[in-house]
Symmetry: C2
Subunit: 566 residues, 2 copies
């Protein structure tokens, strides 16, 4: 089998197997290659650059023994076939962490829960990162072997089985990929080529070299990686982690080049393939077409939507929540996605964002909970651990009937009471201690007085597992049913693209919004309220309470009504 | 008079005059202000932040005693009036360093040479930076008092007089401004506010904080600076130094905000105001309209044009010249401006640039010599010190009859034989030695074995002054006349926008290009050549030699012919 590795500055590269060392031949563009004996590869291989310590292949397909172990090649993949991905306009995304989604924490165990997701009405599952990272557990954002799925979740074939099963149930699968930095532990990339740069900084380590000398090879590395997940594994899209930390200050931004490559793959395969950016920039350039000066991604996350709702319901005002207040910001979020469109942000100490002109609602992915918003709290609390049941229902209606693409975080649909904590398993003990101490220090600097669970502890991981038994309880089952019915209503909306019409009265404590024939009315007051409806005839189709009111003339305290236009 | 200063983190700010200290009042957005007694201000003032050492005003209008001296306010400026700036399509820019343009090195002395420039046909003079920098001489790229013109060139009133005189002769005036870094010496900005950041690096010092906390104030600082030069002094445009080192990773790039502010000033005043970027990115985004995702600047420098021509004529191949070769690159430069449109650059070690789609020729400023290309050589040699007279004429024809906007460097029009060396006058002796040693070291690392003149030495500056007596000599006067006639031919081109039609034969050593009815034919061979003309009837209107040929049927060795379409 032909093996290739990029090591442009190397004077020699050897393939190292359990049996022997083989000198590799220099190939164009700084690559080295060899026709390796298949029998030897079967027990794993490494590369030695200039006689240095043997290291895993940067493009290793499989690291069964972890990020410090030998690399393995895989048998050819099946053709993923043509799967009809639903348009984002009709999508409901479900963010899923394989390790905590089920007690076993594997792809195979996750397959058994697909019936639950299908019943809920989920159209897209989004897997948190799979690129191999150190240890036996973690969120996955410190991946180092970008081409090798994390071995503790199952084999590559089991991952393929999970994806095929999702497809069989009409569910698309998106993968979270991290192209803004590589993890600190198990990172051998520097031995091979100029993957990293010190020209820019990220909060998580050295930035990736996308615009300096040698960056063509680095770009090929991540673009080939994106292609592999989509083409070989059959993923239907990628969620690009924190693109504001992808520094690509040249005439063609990495994201534009990536979007072009994925568009070409889409043409070749006839499959719809999605690119979704997590972005902190409130910059529509990411999702504008290239002809309009954009990068041509399909959609982006909008955190402002989350922050406006979180601030209103929890009344928390620290950190970025300081920038949000009251119903006016929820109304702006429902209308425009971005709350910050160029105005001054106290949290950032500068003006932030720009108007999302010419953007379609289905280009904005919104959530009211996700791995970061839950897991970056000291205690990893979900909204279900902070809010009343009526508030959870109101939040769900805001999320699931907004004009944007809603994303749920695993367990949100039944108000799971298990936390989602930050957990790691760094094999380097010193690094593990540094991470744990750094996290405690960080929260203490914010004035947090309580306990901060140790990320390295197995218990912290264990507590973060979903408890599916909760679904047997009436309150949880009721909340699941609420989510299911909202999603069904969302699915029945016609396809026309429009903005939400929002009206609210802060003094009277109500807010309503209408979008494509569906009207949501929220009474936040502790008493019965008459909330005026928009002109037209409206049929009440869903209500959060058990009382008998038939219209908004007397909405019970703390209630949410959903109407459909007649 | 009301004085204001931005010091957002200060607990107190005092106005310090020769007479006394006055506490200033806190004003919105982190500013401090005072109604200062005019009589005291007449002898200069400084500010003390939190009781610290008194420092010059970051927005000082005048630093007659240098960057470490007291700040002064100025009397109101005259209205610059409405001056009809020529369209860039018909422009010829002339880059001018006030300190070396004349023996006296002042604005007043420069006025006496305006007749020479008018006679040459110059439409725009571009002054190298005037923002106050340390010492008595320098290129000006280490400015620290952005609002105070360098005192050794003359008073602000004398600068105004120079600009008014240019306008009276129909010449517009552009100023080179440096917004990518501030100089190291005399830099008191850090005492006042977060002007700088360590998030990014430039080759010349800390990067400017355009996207972090407090960046709104920094943006106001530079945008107000741009407004001042244009509105108060009456400059017709700005040349923005090295915009590839302006790091502004947010939804609205500083350059877009600056362009908007200048467009608004243009509307208000009814004057045409230009923004020209020096850029190393080959990225048309800079000069695209905002509706097409651009920053909306008017034009940008194109270094590839220079490099392709320089490489061909000098055969130098070190540094970035390694990326260029032969007539093919000159032909691409003549057609598209950018030679690098996405292909691999050996010098950069990566792909570079993108296609300049939708860009007009008048958006590209080209030169075959400029302060950097001359002055960044160890010996500061001009092409006139490296090439034959026939080559200088060929270069001038390529430059002045190209479809783009040509820029000459002072003295280029007569083949001046004075070098333009790198010179400084850092008052900080240690910094001066570091600069001198650094420069010697830099050239030595490139393998340069010769002498590197000491930048700090007054002689280095003195040798860089133009010697106007050269114009009395026939060879120089002849070259001046050649430039004058090419410019006149350029001015006679019709206004239609089109690309150049270029054809060449490397083996036969000829190249020709036609643009809007003007045809340039270059015979690089040492023998007589028959160069085929394009279809049509062509009248020979200018020739570089004294021989009698009437057509290209027998072009003499090393000759340049210019034809006009009949």
């Amino acid at each position: 089998m032909i093996l290739k590795v990029w090591a442009p500055a190397a004077k020699s590269v050897e393939l190292v197997t359990a049996q022997q060392r083989h000198a590799m031949q220099s190939a164009p563009d700084g690559y080295w290659q060899i026709d390796a004996p298949d029998a030897e590869l079967a027990s794993g291989y490494r590369y030695s650059v200039d006689g240095g310590p043997p290291a895993p292949d940067p493009r290793s397909a499989w690291q069964p023994d972890g990020v410090h172990g030998a690399s393995f090649v895989l048998a050819p993949f099946r053709d993923p076939g043509r799967f009809e991905v639903k348009d984002l306009q009709h999508a409901v995304i479900y963010e899923l962490h394989v390790g905590t989604f089920t007690p076993a924490g594997t792809y195979t165990a996750a397959r058994e829960k697909l019936q639950h997701l299908a019943q809920l009405g989920v159209t897209h599952v989004e897997l948190m990162p799979l690129a191999s990272f150190p240890g036996k557990r973690g969120w996955g954002y410190d991946g180092v072997d970008l081409f090798a799925p994390f071995a503790h979740y199952g084999t590559p074939q089991e991952l393929v089985g999970f994806i095929d099963d999702c497809h069989a149930r009409g569910i698309a699968v998106i993968l979270d990929v991290v192209y803004n930095h590589f993890g600190p532990d198990g990172n051998y990339l520097g031995l091979f080529a100029p993957y990293l740069t010190d020209r820019y900084k990220t909060g998580w380590g050295a930035a990736v070299n996308y615009d300096g000398a040698g960056s063509d090879g680095v770009r090929s590395f991540v673009i080939d990686n994106a292609r592999m997940w989509l083409r070989d594994y059959g993923f239907d899209g990628l969620r690009l982690d924190a693109v504001h930390a992808i520094f690509s200050f040249d005439a063609v931004h990495l994201l534009e080049e990536l979007a072009l490559a994925v568009r070409q793959l889409s043409h070749t395969t006839g499959r719809r393939l999605l690119l979704i950016a997590e972005s902190d920039l409130n910059d529509p350039r990411l999702i504008r077409s290239v002809t309009r000066g954009g990068y041509g991604l399909d959609a982006q996350w909008v955190d402002d939507f989350h922050h406006a709702i979180h601030r209103f319901f929890t009344q928390e005002s620290d950190g970025y929540y300081a920038d949000f207040k009251g119903m006016a910001d929820i109304a702006t979020a429902l209308r425009d996605g971005y709350v910050y469109q160029g105005q001054y942000s106290t949290h950032r100490g500068r003006r932030h964002g720009r108007r999302p002109v010419g953007i379609l609602p289905q280009q904005f992915i919104v959530s009211t909970q996700n791995h970061d918003q839950i897991g970056n709290r000291a205690q990893g609390e979900r909204l279900s651990m902070m809010l009343q049941p009526w508030q959870l229902k109101a939040v769900a209606a805001l999320l699931l009937l907004s004009p944007f693409v809603p994303m749920l975080f695993q367990g949100e649909e039944w108000g799971a009471l298990t936390p989602f904590l930050y957990f790691t398993d760094h094999e380097n003990a010193e690094l593990g201690q540094t991470v744990a101490a750094g996290r405690a220090q960080e929260f203490s600097s914010f004035g947090w007085k309580g306990e901060v669970p140790n990320p390295q502890s197995a218990e912290t991981f264990g507590r973060s597992r979903l408890n599916w038994n909760e679904l047997q309880e009436t309150a949880h089952a009721d909340l699941f049913e609420w989510h299911r019915r909202l999603i069904a209503l969302r699915g029945a909306k016609p396809s026309a693209v429009s903005k939400a019409a929002v009206k609210f009265n802060e003094a009277e404590q109500w807010l309503r919004f209408a979008h494509q024939g569906v009207l949501v009315v929220l009474n936040f007051a502790a008493q019965t309220r008459r909330v005026p409806l928009p002109a037209g005839r409206w049929e009440l189709v869903l209500r959060s309470d058990e009382a008998q009111a038939r219209s908004s003339d007397d909405m019970p305290p703390n209630s949410t009504f959903v109407f459909r236009a007649l």
